[in-house]
Every structure is written in C-alpha cells, then in structure tokens.
C-alpha cells in the first residue's frame, strides 16, 4: 500500500513537472503546445550527450539542456507560432502537432532510433528508507523540484513586472497592447520559460525511467496534458495536483484492479471529473464577457 503510494507519487510527480510547462503556456498564450513533450525529449537528449558524450558533470549538463531548450522554445515560437498569432486556434493546434512531428523526426536523424539509456545522475545520493519501502532519490528531487517550480512560477506571475504582463496578455491581448505591453515579447518569454522547464522535466523523466528515444516525450506529454486538464488547465497548483493524482490513480488502478486496464481507469476518472467539474479540480470559472 505504502509502496504503491510512493510509486504513484513518483510517477505523478514526473507528470506534474511536465504538466507545469503545459499549463503555463496554455494559461498565458492560450494555446496547446503539443510539441511540449518533444521539447522534453530534446532536453533529455542534450543532457544525455553532455553527460555521456562530453563528460560534463550533471549540473552543467542540466544547465546546458535548459539553455538549449530555452533557445529552441524561442525559435519554435518565432518560426511556427508567431506568424499565426491572429489565426484560428485550430490552425495553431495543427501547427503544434506539426512541430511535434518535426522535432521527433529531427531527433531521429540526429540521434538515430537506437534506444539510449539515460545515466542515473543521482546515483550518489542515498535512498530514503520508509519502513520496508525505499524512496528513490529521483522521486524526492522530482517532488522537491515540482514544489520549487510551482512556487517560483506563482511568485513570478503574481509579483514581477514580466509576470504581470503575462497575466495581462492572457486576459486580453488587445487591451494589453494598448497598455504598452509588448505582446509578442511576452509570449516569446512564456515559451522560453516553458521550454526551459521542459528541459528540467526531461532530465527528471529520463532519470526516473531511463530509456531515451525520439518518441520518449510523446506519451508522457499526453499524460501530462491530461493531468493539466484534470487539475484545471491554466492553474499552476492545479497542474501539480493533477499530475500527482494521475500517477497515484494509475498505479493504484494497476495494483488493485487490473494491469490491463490502467489507462482506461485513468481516463475514466478524467471523464468523471470533467463531467462534475468541467474546469478541472482547481480551474477558475471564467465568466464569458458579453
């Protein structure tokens, strides 16, 4: 029971950290960046190459990975999404899917389809012993990273000038422009932060589940998106709550009901939550202005 709970939290915290990136971009740019999962994959590959190829220490590798992904996020936003700023949201969504495929196939060309095994960067840290069950260091660090990122993002969006600009853009682009906010730069910034978070998520995901291939980010990306919707998309604490709950439900469903039906159970719970509370667990109810 305790072991399952810990496994659930461990899996859920990985979903949560990816969901934070999703929800952040959605909350501000109001678009679903389906390429988020693939930015995670790129981040993981960069860190992998820095550690095993160039022999860098993990900390430096993570920083390099964050830097590359941040730049990648800005480039993707500038090349693919900026020209569609005034297009329908469907066009942006399809573009995002296109970017996702582009990144996967580019990774396939650069790094080939051979599966790589991500090194355990926390191998030196001791595991926490809770009774008879062990908590792996990567779980603790992922949970910790989640809390830190969540607090930092909340602080950033509510207290800093840039963060306030982001919230203004999210509420009304036109009015924000009139108030002298550079909308394009604000959205680029959002993507930069979201992609930087994706790099951290990629490293943590691949440390916890160390196989790395060009499609590594795809499924966790979708699960994390589900988690973000579950928690209330756009809500930063909601993404975290949704992610952890999703992981726990998945593991408990597997352990006590059926390993064959675990995904069916997860998505059934999602449907029930959305039926009862359409905005997700912590989603704000936004009244449509007429």
């Amino acid at each position: 029971m305790l072991a399952n709970l810990i496994n659930g939290i461990s899996l859920g915290s990985v979903y949560a950290i990816i969901a934070l990136g999703y929800t952040m971009v959605y909350g501000i740019a109001k678009m679903l960046n389906f390429a988020h999962g693939d930015v995670i994959m790129v981040g993981a590959y960069v860190a992998f190459c820095a550690i095993t190829g160039l022999g860098w220490p993990p900390i430096l590798a993570v920083l390099a990975s964050v830097a590359v992904c941040t730049v990648l996020g800005i480039i993707i936003e500038g090349l693919a999404y900026k020209p569609l700023r005034n297009a329908t949201s469907l066009a942006v969504l399809i573009t995002a899917i296109g970017v996702s495929y582009f990144l996967q196939n580019a990774a396939l060309l650069i790094w080939t389809s051979n599966t790589k095994v991500f090194p355990n960067i926390f191998a030196d840290l001791p595991a926490l012993q809770l009774g008879s069950t062990q908590v792996a260091p990567v779980t603790l660090i992922t949970v910790l990273a989640n809390i830190v990122i969540m607090l930092a993002l909340t602080f950033f969006t509510s207290k800093t000038k840039m963060g306030k600009a982001m919230r203004a853009v999210s509420e009304d682009k036109g009015a924000a422009t009139l108030m002298g906010i550079n909308v394009n730069r604000t959205i680029s910034m959002t993507f930069a932060i979201g992609s930087g978070l994706a790099a951290i998520a990629g490293v943590l995901l691949c440390t916890a589940y160390p196989t790395l291939m060009p499609t590594t980010g795809a499924m966790p990306g979708i699960k994390a998106f589900t988690a973000a919707v579950f928690g209330g998309i756009g809500s930063i604490p909601g993404a975290m709550l949704g992610g952890v709950l999703l992981g726990v439900i998945e593991i408990f469903g597997k352990a006590y009901i059926s390993t064959q039906l675990s995904d069916a159970i997860v998505f059934a719970v999602l449907i029930i939550v959305l039926l009862v509370k359409p905005t997700g667990l912590l989603g704000r109810k936004v009244r449509e202005k007429v």
Binding site: L11, C49, V117, A127, E250
Partner: protein, 436 residues
Amino acid sequence: MKKKVLAMVMSAVLGVSMLGGCTDAASTGGSDAGTSGTTDGGESAGSDAGSNAGGETKEGVEESVPEQESVGGKLTGTLNLGMIGPLTGAAAIYGNAVKNGEQIAVDEINAISSDFQIQYNPQDDEHDAEKSVNAYNNLKDWNVQVIAGTVTTTPCVAVSAEANNDRIFMLTPSASSPDVVNGKDNVFQVCFADPNQGSASAKYIKDNNMATKVAIIYNNADAYSTGIYQTFNAKAGELGLEVVSTTTFTDDTANDFSVQLGDAQSAGADLVFLPIYYQPASLILQQASSMGYAPKFFGVDGMDGILTMEGFDASLAEGVILLTPFSADATDDLTKSFVGKYESGYGETPNQFAADGYDCPYAIYRALQFYADKNGDLDVTGKSAEEICTILISVFTNPNFSYDGVTGSGMVWTANGEVNKDPKAVVIQNGVYVGL
C-alpha cells in the same frame, strides 16, 4: 538585436551538430534483429490462401521418405536461386541483411567446387504484398528454380500462395508467422515460428530446473509478446511449471513497472519471464534492481539488443538468460567465420536476419547434396522448378535430413514447414553473451 538572434541561432546549430556527433561512435552494431522479425507475425493477415493445394501433392512426399543407403551421387549444374525482400523502403534493413547473408553463403558455396554453382537473383518488394508478387513473376521469367525468401511475413503469405500453385520451392529465412507455411507443402521456414518460442522457453526452464515459481510480464498490446505468452503459459501448465503472477503493460504504460514487479515479488516468483522487446526489458531490470528484487530474468529473441543500448549499465543484465537463434558474439567457428566475413564485407555486425539469410542457401545446398547422396547423381541444370520442388520437399520432410547452421544446430523440418531446432540459450556474463 538582429545580430544577437543570429548569434543565438548559430550557437544553437553548432551545439546540436556537436551533440549529434557524440552518438555516432556508440551506435554501431545495434541489432534489432529479433525485435522486428517477430513483429511481422502480428501484422500478417490470417490468410490461409493456398491451403487446398497442400493435400493433393503430399503423396509425392511420402514415397521418398523410406530409409535409403548412401549411393554417393554427385551434385552438379547451376541452380537459379531467387530471393525476394524489402531492399528499399522502411523495412529495407531486414531485406538487405538477408540479402547480404545469402550472398555470403552463395559465394562460399560457389567457391567449394565449380561443378555446382548458384546464380543468385535478389528482387525488391518494398515490404508490399503486391510488389512482392510482381517480383515473384520477374523471378519466374528468369526461370527461377528455388526461392530463398521472402523476408517479411505479409508479402510472404501472398507469394507463398502463388509459389504453392506453381510448385516452386520456397525457404523463407525470416517470415515467422504460421500463416506463411500453413497448408503449403512447399514452403519452409528457417526462423522459429513466433509461438514456438514460448513453448521452447517453458520447456527450457522446466528441463533445467531453473525455477519453481514463475512470473510473467508481457505487453498485451503486441501480438508478438502476447503470442509467446500464450504458448508459454499453455506449455507451463502442461509441464507443471507454476506461474504465480501474470501482469501486463502496453506501449503507452511501458514506463513504470513497479506494480508488476511488486506483484511478482510478493508472489515469491524466483524467475521472471519477459517475452518482450529489450527497451521495456531494460526498464524492468533497472527498476527491479532499485527495488532490491533479484529473481532470474528469462527473455526471448526480442531481448537481443539490450547490450547494444547506448549507456545501458550492463551489470543490470548480469545473469539474464535469453533464448535466441543467433548471437553474433557466439564463439563457435561457424558463427565466427560468418560474422567476420559479414563485418569485413558490409561494415556492420550481422543481425539475426543476416544469419537466417546465411542459413537459407546452405540448407538448400545441403538438401540437394543429401538427395544426390541417396539417389545418385543430380544435375540441376535445366531441371524444372517443379522437379526441384519435389526433390526438396522429399528431403526437407525426411527425418534423416538435418542441417547445422549459424541459427541453430540439428535443424529438422516438420511436414508443415516449421523448423525444429534447439534454441540457443545464452546467459549474459560480464556484458557478453555466454552460451549455456
């Protein structure tokens, strides 16, 4: 500002190209062999086309089975050997591996004696059933006498139906589905039929008393994995092997195996059977190790490739046992010579497909030799495909004919066309396969 952006892009490009370089060195020799060969079984349509023709021609087979004294006849002439496989397209890696393997064998056979020569004609089918039949028609125009193909299952089902009507002997290196041979008396396989791996594994575990309680973790979204699981489970029941835990995953949930491993552990399993590919298997090994659970792990040919994963900690795979028809690391002379030739000729380590391909022309050659030895001189030049077909069927179904190749020793064939060979069990020790 513009300059800054340009500088950023340039440095990003530089960074990516640097990082790209770091993988090249380590990504050689990745053998996906078992993996994809067996996936074909899942794709194949359950077509039994050509099953009618099977019964009618069986009489010819039975006549030639009786024990015969050796009369020491000689095999002479030139045999037109065709091959069909995906030489381009998505499955090209398999077709080319088979072609290269067959080419090495053909060259070797031709070098043995100028009395008997093989003319080899490989045709591309792009892993497409229709194109495969076209390729087959090309081969017929070329007066093909025997076909060492096709490589992939779906085209093979289509071509073998045609070949069954036309009475042309086919020996497929790698089309592993039972649909390929069912009801066709002239079609034989060099590779294991998918389900046979399950029963062979159960038998191996039981015969060697490797475990009393067995847990199984399989991918229930994959026909290969499920097929092996079913035959394993049936055979285990038959042999009295106790299966205490059966859990599944799908491609979408192939990240976290804590529940499956926890179930196996609490059920007291001392062996975990993994009829799955090596990517999820590597995660299972890693998670079992971090849980402190150390049963024996037993895999099938899909496990082949785990050691070539870049960055994989080989100590995790220490003691893992797998059944595989071919391992390029094996130390017997036949394998060493084949691997050496393949590496020097094509610059890569041969995978299981190449090995299956290598065995194909040799099995045909040995079968013709066997016939000549029992029945007197055989000149294949100008013999019709049908005559050769009758000869080869009689030999392949003769219980006294067996063939030792790189993918197994003592191969014999059932009248149905499936191969019976002892799978090679290897255990991973110090990061290399060691034969058991």
